[in-house]
């Protein structure tokens, strides 16, 4: 194997790639070749580092140097100074705003200090398009151990003992889900990976698939071994071309290496994976809707029970897990359930990846241990509110979640505590809002989203959400009444209680939580026909203009 003096890890996630990281890689390779260093320095195209705010990023290994906001034209200087003369290019280092000091090492940056990267362990470290790099990081070792040394029951027991819960939003214990599917005897069973990441403002799953696709493939094969399935599907959004591209490469390579296909690790276990593309429907993240879509039909949900574990894809027992859930599986088998169990809180073990966005200084992908406080995420990792504005709320759980006000910033997050403050874990979107954001307008934004995405199968969701949206529109146009506020609450509760699937059962949450914590703002709109943040047009102008001021 070739030995390199330096490795230059260049981020090639969606956000960095759209900022010319491809040209950076091209220029680096050309420049190194021209100067005769191509045998000493390896350029590695990696997945997302998470610090999207400061992309594109180059990390130089083993020098521990972390360059931010690199432009293709900076490459010449990096090669000239860093590679040839061994001097760090100060100009491209990250400056910690609080300290007004340049920082060289990633580990010392406040954005990374409080993070614990388990699901993202390989993102920004290995080349996702090369299976050898994954294998070098103990990849497929867990699958080998499961098949060679463990019975399916032991694998399920290990996952149960770890306390891992579903990361897609529901939070159902993963081990139990596997056990239920295992117990339903059938010749044909299926494993499905739910990669239909539909929450606006969430990009955790995409980053894992782009940065470490093999971890998901390996975990699906482990799940297949545990429950007795030979076929897996990844249901992925058609809007994620880069993730699809890398998954296709990964599946092809895994087949070549005999890690997918027949007689894996010389056993009698067979497993293969196929991609299924979504076509733009938020409701397809709901598992029964997803199954209908995988079968090629309209993605409308079914009533549960029967649960997919009994009767799922083509009426066969099916286990549906989320991308991030899968990404945790291999290391639980390798390091043991006790190790995983020791991280997190009483009822929520391990870590959670959040897509931190909105009015926060450091937008990006962060992975934190369960039990960390919202304040730590927003202020320590996120670097506080942009432009020194005042914090107003943080929204978690996307269109199914709620807005959490300042008084709960010290909440130690886990599945339960977030529900107690009227929100939910959800899949991991975390949008920070400041004093310029109008909470009535925000809940209107979310309800318009669900109104649009409701599949129309059940009445409470189809009509209820439409009425909620109409009431909110009235309020933002200065035509709301006090009665409207009562109606919002009543109707919201009704939609929650009466809807068929998770979409309708949670769609009023943004309204109900903002009504609970920001009732004054609603009242100001209704009684004084005034939008305190100056966002809603309150019927003053002709045009239904500006949803938000710049």
């Amino acid at each position: 194997m070739k030995q390199y003096r330096l490795h230059m890890l260049v981020c090639a996630g969606t956000a960095c790639e759209s900022q010319e990281s491809k040209d950076i890689i091209k220029n680096l390779e050309a420049e190194l070749k021209e100067k005769g260093y191509e045998k000493e320095v390896q350029v590695v195209k990696t997945g997302c580092f998470g610090f999207c705010e400061k992309g594109p990023i180059i990390k130089v290994h083993p020098d521990h140097v972390f360059y931010v906001e690199v432009k293709p034209k900076d490459v010449k200087e990096i090669v000239e100074e860093h590679v040839i003369k061994g001097r760090v290019v100060e100009r491209l280092l990250y400056e910690e705003p609080a300290l007004e000091k340049k920082i060289t090492e990633q580990e010392k940056m406040s954005f990374y200090k409080k993070q614990l990267r388990l699901a993202l362990r390989n993102c920004g470290f290995i080349n996702p398009e090369d299976i050898k790099e994954y294998i070098a990081e103990d990849g497929y070792l867990a699958l080998g151990r499961a098949i060679k040394e463990m019975t399916p029951e032991e694998v399920i027991e290990t996952i149960k003992e770890s306390g891992l819960r579903g990361r897609g939003g529901g939070g159902f214990p993963t081990g139990y889900k596997w056990e239920l599917t295992y117990r339903n005897k059938n010749d044909l069973k299926f494993i499905i990976c739910n990669a239909d990441e539909g929450d606006p403002g969430a990009f955790m799953d995409r980053s894992i698939l782009e940065g470490d696709p093999h971890s998901v493939l390996e975990a699906m094969a482990i799940a297949g071994y545990a429950i007795g399935a030979e076929k897996g599907y990844i249901y992925i959004r058609a809007e994620y071309p880069l993730a699809i591209h890398r998954l296709n490469i990964a599946i092809e390579q895994a087949r070549e290496y005999g890690l997918l296909g027949e007689n894996i690790f010389d056993s009698d276990f067979n497993f293969d994976i196929e991609l299924k593309y979504g076509a733009g429907a938020f409701v397809c993240g709901e598992e029964t809707a997803l199954l209908n879509s995988v079968e090629g039909g309209r993605g409308e949900p079914n009533a549960k029970p029967p649960f997919p574990a009994e009767s799922g894809l083509w009426d066969k027992p099916t286990c549906v897990n989320n991308v991030e859930t899968f990404a945790n599986i291999p290391q639980i088998l390798l390091k043991g359930p006790k190790w995983f169990n020791s991280i997190g809180t009483e009822n929520s073990k391990g870590t959670k990846v959040f897509a931190l966005a909105g009015k926060v200084n450091n937008v990006g992908l962060v992975e934190v241990p369960m039990g960390i406080s919202l304040r730590e995420i927003i202020y320590d990792i996120g670097g506080g509110i942009r432009d020194n504005k005042k914090f107003k709320a943080v929204q978690t759980g996307g269109p199914s979640g709620g807005c959490i006000p300042e008084k709960y910033l010290d909440t130690h997050i886990d599945y339960q505590t977030l529900q107690e403050v009227g929100s939910m874990m959800g899949s991991g979107g975390m949008i920070v809002m400041d004093e310029d954001d109008c909470m009535v307008n925000i809940s209107k934004f979310y309800i318009e989203f669900t109104e649009d995405e409701s599949c129309g199968k059940c009445t409470p969701c189809r009509i209820g959400n439409k009425r909620l949206s109409e009431i909110l529109t009235r309020i933002t146009y200065g035509k709301g009444t006090e009665e409207d506020l009562e109606n919002l609450k009543d109707l919201g509760e009704m939609v929650k209680d009466g809807s068929l699937c998770g979409l309708g059962q949670s769609s009023p949450n943004p309204i109900l939580s903002t009504l609970r914590f920001f009732e004054d703002e609603y009242k100001e709109h209704v009684l004084n026909k005034n939008c305190p943040s100056g966002v809603c047009n309150m019927g003053k102008k002709k045009k239904p203009a500006a949803k938000k001021k710049q």
Binding site: T14, A15, S18, Q19, C52, E53, G55, E197, G198, D199, P200, G201, A202, F203, R206, S207, A238, E239, Y240, P241, K276, Y277, G278, A279, G280, A281, F282, S293, V294, E295, G296, G297, R298, G299, E300, W314, A355, A357, G358, K359, V363, G364, Q395, G398, G429, I431, M433, D437, I442, F445, Y446, C455, A545, A546, K547, K548, K549, Q550
Partner: protein
């Protein structure tokens, strides 16, 4: 709806769809190991070949799979990715995810609509640009952002819209 259909029939009549494209689709369908559960996959391919899914193509797929045209149409209208109208030469996708929303994508939409004299979900008269909104692209670090064909423009300001469009005009 009836009006839409009429308009579409007119479109179909004006531009008979090339035989080679049907053959390409036929070859693709023949290459599949089985047809069970493949409708969405086949429609993705058909839209890639034809650019959109007019009535004739829908009926072609229905006959080929031995299912009703209504079922095919039902699937196409359910998913926002499929379109029954021809697209412009360039597609401008505007991210309307939450991060872009709070960072002021509303102003960008206004600027684009104004500049192109069309509305979201429509195509300009000269068939040059189609304007559509998409759910989160997942590059929230670049909010607000728009995607023209495959190129992403991040942290867009309303006054930059004209300049971006000029690259494609």
């Amino acid at each position: 709806m009836a009006e839409n259909l009429k308009e579409q029939e007119k479109n179909d009549l004006e531009k008979p769809l090339p035989k080679e494209k049907y053959e390409e689709l036929e070859d693709y369908i023949d290459s599949l190991p089985s047809l069970e559960g493949r409708l969405i996959q086949i429609l993705h391919k058909a839209q890639q070949i034809f650019g959109y899914l007019p009535r004739d193509v829908q009926l072609f797929v229905a006959r080929r799979l031995g299912i009703s045209g209504a079922k095919v149409n039902g699937v196409i209208t359910f998913y926002s990715y499929f379109t029954q109208k021809p697209r412009g030469e360039h597609t401008i996708s505007i991210c309307t995810g939450t991060a872009c929303f709070v960072k002021g994508v509303g102003k960008i939409i206004e600027a684009l609509e104004h500049e192109l004299d069309t509305s979201i979900g429509s195509t300009t008269e000269d068939m040059k640009f189609t304007l559509k909104d998409v759910r989160c692209v997942g590059a929230c670090g670049l909010a607000p952002l728009i995607v023209v064909d495959d190129k992403v423009y991040g942290r867009v300001k309303p006054e930059e819209v004209e300049q971006i469009l000029a690259e494609y005009r």
